[in-house]
Structure formats: structure tokens, C-alpha cells
């Protein structure tokens, strides 16, 4: 097995000699820097780290990280990554995908890697558009999105990545956005989670879907529109003047005013990352009437797929010698002697 001792690296150690080919101003640059800044903090070793991606703008990511990298085919990165992890569970796997790659053509694989709980960090860059193919509506595009393939506006209902992940059985669901200073914290939490950790990263496509997340991601007024969740802390935003409480009649979250910081009096719910019901409410919470829930929405580990595979193989092999000659002669056999007249 690989030596997994944490090692000391710097941001520079994670940069490749490849020219980065994203459009100037693309949110991917900020995510790349956040990842390169986070990897040294985690003590990651480039030789034991594998970045696996599918197809799309986001999937160029592995070329820019000085580790092992596999740029696979459209939508299939979760399946390739599963094979890598099963062949060598000691490898630290980061999966990079987008809304089209991960939820459209690769939606099936995304569902299964999450429900199997293969230990890896899954970063889904959600820009609500197909960028690399020049701007068609994606499965997360909002209704009415005008694009070359939907010139009169799209009419299919968008998928919600975090809700999809939770519904697929994910045990870690988090959100961040490209230029957020808190993105490394989210990545660190995802890495600490033993199992499939799903991170939806809102990413600004400067060419085809510019500033589509400004409603909550723009710095001005951000505190009113972003709810950064922290385990064990009340769900407060707008500088502590507002919070989320439980509407027990409708079994839903509701925004309440907090007077003089007395969040208990306002009935504000304390975030519990292990509470799956709460997570379901958070991922379904519509932005607009509610703030955008960011940070770790859900984090409740259970045994991983690769551990089960390794344990089963060990159990099935216990006390058995892999004797090929014996295996070939399995079942009912007979011998033919020189004359073949007398089968035994």
C-alpha cells in the first residue's frame, strides 16, 4: 500500500507546467486556486492523489494539478474513479465534473457512486450551462434560459444537484461557490468525510451564463442572501438578524426575525449535519424567499464501498490458497491412462 503519511507541500507543488485554457475571468480559475491552496493544508501527497474528470470545461481540471490525473469520457468519471479506488483504495481521489457531465449524460453513474458510497471528493461545478459546446441549456439551467438550443427560452424543469445527491443516498452534501473564501473550508470537510462527499460548487460562466449566481454570490449584500451552515450553530444570516425556524404546521423551514440576538426566542434551528430530514429541507429550500444554504448541509458517514469489497475479498480468501492447478482440476474429473480403456 501507498505511504499515506501527510506530507508538506506548497501551492506551487500542485501547479503543472500546462497553460490553463479556460476563458479569462472563468470561475474555474478561482476553484483551481482554492483546491491548490487546500491540498497542502490537508497534507496530501501528489503521488497518491488522483484527479478524475469527465468532459466539459470543468473536466480540464486534472491537467492543471500536479498529481496523477485522468481526463475520461463524457459522464463516466464516477465509474472510472470507482475502478481506480477498488484497485487501490489507498489513493485519494478527487472527481471533477459539471452540471451536464455529472447530472445529464453521467447522471446514472453519479447516482450509483453516491449510493455505493465510494470514498472520494466529488466536485460538481454548476454553471447552469454547457460551456465547452458553446452555451446550450443544461439540466440545471433555470426555466426560460435562452440559449442556442432554446432560442425562445428553456421549459424543462431544472435539476437540483444537492437534492439529487441526497436523494441518491449521499452521506455528505455541501455547497460553495467559485470565488468564496470559505470554499477551502468546505473542501477540507469533504476530504475529512470517509465516503463519497458531494460538493456543489456554483461557478460563473463568464461567456455563456454570466453572473447568473450574483443574486447570492455578489459581495454586496451577501450576508443577507447567504446562509453559511455550521454544525451545532443556529442557522442565522443577515448579521444574525434573521434565522431559519421550523414551521411545524407545514413541516418546512421558515425565515424568522431575530431580535437582539435572541435566536432561541425566535425558534431558530441549530444545524445538525447528521440530521437527514433537516438536510432534505435545506436542499429543497428555494432561493429568493430563503437565503442560499452554503457550507456543509449534511455529513453522516457510513461504511464505504471499497472497505466492503476489501473485507469480502479477505473473508472469501481466508484459509484458501490460490492454487491454479487445483482450480483447473475442479469438479468431477477422470483420468485416461495410456490405453484409455479403463476410465477411473
Amino acid at each position: 500500500m501507498n505511504d499515506m503519511t501527510p506530507i508538506t507541500t506548497t501551492l506551487k507543488d500542485w501547479e503543472t507546467d500546462q497553460e490553463v485554457r479556460w476563458c479569462p475571468g472563468c470561475g474555474d480559475y478561482a476553484i483551481l486556486k482554492a483546491v491548490q491552496r487546500t491540498l497542502p493544508q490537508l497534507g496530501c501527497d501528489p503521488k497518491n492523489t488522483v484527479f478524475v474528470s469527465g468532459i466539459g470545461c470543468s473536466s480540464r481540471f486534472p491537467y492543471y494539478i500536479e498529481s496523477y490525473g485522468f481526463h475520461t469520457i463524457h459522464g463516466r468519471a464516477p465509474a472510472v474513479a470507482t475502478g481506480i479506488k477498488l484497485a487501490n483504495p489507498a489513493l485519494d481521489i478527487w472527481l471533477v465534473t459539471g452540471d451536464g457531465d455529472g447530472l445529464s449524460i453521467g447522471g446514472n453513474h453519479m447516482m450509483h457512486v453516491l449510493r455505493r458510497n465510494v470514498n472520494m471528493q466529488i466536485m460538481l461545478f454548476n454553471n447552469e450551462i454547457y460551456g465547452l459546446t458553446k452555451g446550450q441549456a443544461s439540466p440545471t439551467s433555470r426555466e426560460g434560459t435562452r440559449s442556442p438550443s432554446t432560442p425562445l427560452g428553456s421549459y424543462d424543469h431544472p435539476a437540483k444537484p444537492a437534492a439529487f445527491a441526497l436523494g441518491s443516498g449521499a452521506r455528505f452534501v455541501a455547497r460553495g461557490f467559485d470565488v468564496s473564501k470559505k470554499l477551502p473550508e468546505v473542501l477540507i470537510a469533504a476530504h475529512a468525510h470517509n465516503g463519497a462527499a458531494f460538493i456543489e460548487i456554483f461557478q460563473n460562466c463568464i461567456v455563456y451564463n454570466k453572473d447568473v449566481f450574483d443574486d447570492f454570490a455578489a459581495p454586496k449584500g451577501a450576508e443577507d442572501r447567504q446562509l453559511w451552515l455550521e454544525d451545532g450553530q443556529p442557522m442565522l444570516f443577515a448579521d444574525g438578524t434573521k434565522g431559519l425556524a421550523l414551521d411545524t404546521v407545514n413541516l418546512a423551514l421558515t425565515v424568522v426575525d431575530v431580535v437582539d440576538g435572541d435566536w432561541q426566542a425566535a425558534g431558530v434551528v441549530v444545524h445538525d449535519v447528521r440530521n437527514r430530514s433537516l438536510a432534505h429541507m435545506l436542499v429543497e429550500m428555494p432561493f429568493g424567499p430563503f437565503p442560499m444554504a452554503l457550507g456543509v448541509l449534511y455529513d453522516h458517514p457510513r461504511p464505504t464501498f471499497e472497505d466492503a469489497v476489501v473485507a469480502e475479498r479477505a473473508q472469501a480468501s481466508e484459509g484458501k490458497q490460490p492454487d491454479l492447478a487445483k482450480l483447473l482440476a475442479t469438479g468431477q474429473t477422470w483420468t485416461v491412462d495410456g490405453t484409455a480403456a479403463d476410465p477411473v
Binding site: P62, F70, H71, T72, V80, L324
Partner: protein, 664 residues
Amino acid sequence: MATAATAPQDGISDTPEAVVVRFAGDSGDGMQLTGGQFTLSTALAGNDLATFPDFPAEIRAPTGTLFGVSAFQINFGSREINTAGDAPDVLVAMNPAALKVNISALKPGGLVIADTGAFTKRNLDKAHYDSNPLEDGSLAKFDLLAFDISEKTIEAVKPYGLGNKDALRSKNMWTLGLALWLFDRDRAPIHEWLKQKFRRNPDIADANIAALDAGHAYGETAELSGPIKQLHMPPVLSEPGLYRTVTGAEAVSLGLVAGAQLAKLPMFFGGYPITPASAILHHLARLKEFGVTTFQAEDEIAAICAAIGASYAGSLGVTSSSGPGIALKTEAMGLAIMTELPLVIVNSQRGGPSTGLPTKTEQSDLYQAVYGRNGDAPMPVIAARSPSDSFECAIEACRIAVQYMTPVMLLTDGYIANAAEPWKVPDPETFAPFPVSFADADSLGLAGEGEVDAAGAGSKGDASQAVVQPYARDEKGARPWIRPGTPGLMHRIGGIEKAQGTGHIDYSPDNHQAMTDARRDKVLGVDRPDQEIALGEPGGTLAVVGWGSTYGPILQAVRRSIAKGRKVAHIHVRHIWPLPANLGELLRGFDHVLVPEMNTGQFKTVLRDQYLIDARPLTKTSGQPFQIAELEAAIGKYFDGIEGNEGGEVPANDQQLPNTGILA
């Protein structure tokens, strides 16, 4: 073989060289089990054999219906057997539907054994019989042995206190007992097998043994008059050694395990359920102690992609499917070709296109295997000719995959996957190992300080820093296999075109030309043996060229034709791509080339394309294997003095297994 020119043609009263027996009954009658045990006893008696199991696509077809008929054919003899036999000498029919579906296949004068207890009005109606064929004289041209097997079975198992329904489940064992008597077989191994199978339920074991013994005793003591008498088939003179029976699916699985061991690699098998390929997944799932990881993926695409990921991480990646599933894997095969990772893809072909004939056999995926990918995507293809040959072919596929860093497709088919034949158990000591050595900084010349690689000149930063060259090539054209986790060799690969050497993204015209050429040349240079002639002499009138499971019938047809003095040779090709280096020259030495295939002429096209020779197709696409007689007749057309009647299409044969299709 009873149909051979030298063998008697009138039933089985004289001792023929070979006999064909077909067990047919309802899906619930246990015919496959009966056939399997009869096969075992045949093997233990030292006869050579080949089998053809034919079962309905429906899991539990309604009882007594024509489409619910399940059959098992075995051809066995005192000489080498290569096919499951053309027409049966003996038909065991457990109900009217089984008789109806199979009777037309029986040789004139052949023996019908029928269970009168199952020929009820209701069952006759279900089989669309207006009158009882056992009584209305319609079977006059056959020998008929009809009696109430159901009743005799119930009687035999009475002491074990089973209800009628349970008792009747032993009917197949009673019938097997009779068959064992008919061919002078030892019952002891079947007793042992029953005890083992029902070890948790000794009463059931005893009841089945009683039924088996009763069937045997019936043959021995009852007044079986007429042509029915016991036949002892002397053992075939086979090479001394240890033998077992093996199906193609078993042999592929064992060959893959052996191949992984010879490469000194753990094996990762990604699969998704599909007929008839699932059996390989089932076999390998039980062999974990051999370093085998099996992964039942969410779909065919994930199965191959996970195998590719595992190969990337240093395992021998393997995936397996059948035509429609292989189609789904196509894009990922391109990824394995492009990233140059080893991978074995087993295709158990079935009738197509689309869902086609899931349980029937065909060889129609050859174009798909050789040509069926986007871009110039060369991939070695090899084809197994029989169940036991699948073992060697699987090892060969593993060898090529790891030595050339390439995916390899191994073609079998539904017939090979399911059929059983005796197999001389090979000694692993005799296998040539091909251990893999993964690249490290030393092997790539990157270990020393300050070593400069030419390709490093263009890289960013310190010019003295040597550059990892994952796409450098050895003398075979293969790139190094670098596992993640290897210190100092971090690099990126992908499906996008890569620069020679460094593997960096590179779309430049010169580079794509060079990489396309390199991928092609690597595959064309795969080390493979020269083509040999299976039977006959070079330079005759006709070469009959086959591949895959047509081996047996072609060999027998050519043997018979040679015996008639015809200048025919059988050439059987294992390496479909690249073709053996001498094949073109060999074929040009014949006046004519005939290519029998269970498709519309796919290998014929490849041969024409590669050698510009006038290869003629002989095609059969009825989901049925070729019969020897059909091939012999086709060969004869090259010697009948009539111009222009050669080759063509062999029509569907409603007297041949599998024939359930014509009833639909």
C-alpha cells in the same frame, strides 16, 4: 458419429462410432440437469463428446407450452467429437410439446422415448396436437418406446412419503436412469452427485436415487423388445491425463484467472448482467482468493469504465458482455485505445441486431469487434473455436493486453459459452509467464539528479527537471504502465489527443498523424503465430476458412470431403485482428476460398479487403450452428462441375436445434 459416411444409418442397434441423444421437456422438467449429468457419465465412460443446451428465453414459461420447451443435445462417441451432432438418434420427450418441437429433427429410424403420463388431453391441446401422436401412427417411421414414466416415478419414490407433485420432480432422474442403462453407464457418480446436491435434505436425495435406480432397473428387467438394446460405446483413445468437462464460460473465467496470474496482476472484472455473458461474472465472483475483484456495475458503460480505471491503477481490467452491451461499451473502448491501457473485453456473441436472439448463437459481431468504433481505433481481436479453446484464448488476450498496453477483444458466442466438452486439464507449469513490470522513476531514467530529457526543454520552470514520458514507446510500440502512487511520475492522461512522449494535450497536425500511426503500428505488430492448416494440404482446390465456433462442423465436413478424394483444406483463424502474417499467401495458394459464417459474410469482407482475394461467403443466420451435412454439401459444389453455384446462404433448418423460433 452416426451420420458419418462410415457409420450405420439405421438407429443404434449396431455399435456406431457416435450417437446423438436429445433430452427434451418442459422448462420445469430439469432437462438441462439431466443432460449435464448424462454428459458427466459420458465423460467418465471415456467417450469424447460435445453438447448443445437449448433453453427458452422465458424464465418460467407456462407449463406444457411449445415455447417453454427446454432441450439438451449431446453427441458422444468412441472417436473425436467436434460438434453437438446434426440429427439425434434418440429423442427423449417428456411431454407433447417437447415431442412436437423436436420430432422433425430425429433421424428416420431413430428412437423416441416418451412419457405417456404427460400426454394428457390438456397437454396435447397446449402442444396443438389434434390426436395423440403416440397412438395415431404418426411416429411410424421411428422406433417408439412409450410408457408411463410419471407413474413409474411416483411408484419408485413412494417409500419417501412425497406428494405426487414433489414425486414427479424426480421424473428426470428416472429417465436419466434409463438412459444410463441404455448406454451401459455407471450410476455411482450420479448417486454421489445427488447426495452432495441434496446433502441438507437426505430424503430428497434418496428419492432421486430411487428414481434413478428404478429407471435403470426398468431397462434391465422389463421386456424391452424390438430394436431397443443396450449399447456400449468404447472409450475414445484420447491423450493420457486428467480430464474434466468444461463450458466456454467456465474456460474463459479460468483462462482469465490464469492470464492474470501469468501477468502477476490482480484482476478486476466489471460486468453487468446480460445473456449469455453473465456466467463469466458468476464464475469469477467465486474466485476472490485468486486476487479477483468482481464489480457488478450500474450499466455496461460503467462496467468497462471501472475496468479501465482499475487497469490505470495497476490491475488487469476485464469486462464482458454480449453484442448490445458491447455496443454500449464502444466509446470506452476508444478511451482504452487512446490512453493505451490494457483491458480484456469478452464478447459472447448472440443473434442481433438490437436485442435480437438473446439465447441463440450467431457470429455477427465481427465488424463491431474489428471496425466498430469512432476514429481510427485499432484493437486486437481473437476468437475462440470451442469451449476448451476459450481457456487458451483468454490467456492470449491477457498477454496481448499487458504486453502491448491495449484493449483486446475476445470473441466467443452463445454456443461456446453454454456448451460443454471434455477438457484435458492443463498443467500451469507449462504456461509461459508474461509478468508485468510497472514503470518507476528508475525504469524511466528519471531517478538521477539533473538528468535532462529532450522533451523537458519545452517545459515550464527549471530546464534541468526531467519530464515524465508516459507515451514514450518500447520496441513493441507499447508505452510504460505507470501506476498512480508511483513517486515522481505524476502525469495526466485522457481521451483527448496527446503529444508523443509527454502525453500533454496536443492537437497539432503532425502529432495526430504520428500518434494515429503509432497506435495502428503497435496493433499491427502484435506478436502472433503464423496461420496453420487445421486439416488438409496447402495449395488445393478449396480452402474452407472459418473462425470461432464453426470449427467443429467445418473440420468434420472437410474431413469427409477429403475422404472422398477432394482437394480441400480447413483453415481456422484465431487471430482475427491483426491477421496472421502468412494468411494472405496461404489463401492465394488455393483455387477457391469459401468462408462459412453464422452472419451475412463479415470475415469474408475482411479477407477480401486485406488480401484482394475472391473469398466466397457461405452464410447462415437462423440462430443455428452449421450442420456438417450442410457444409459438406457446400464444399461439394466446388467439385460438381457446375459453375456459379458456390457459396450463398444456408436456409434455416427446421429440423435443427434450436428451432423454437419457428414456432413463435
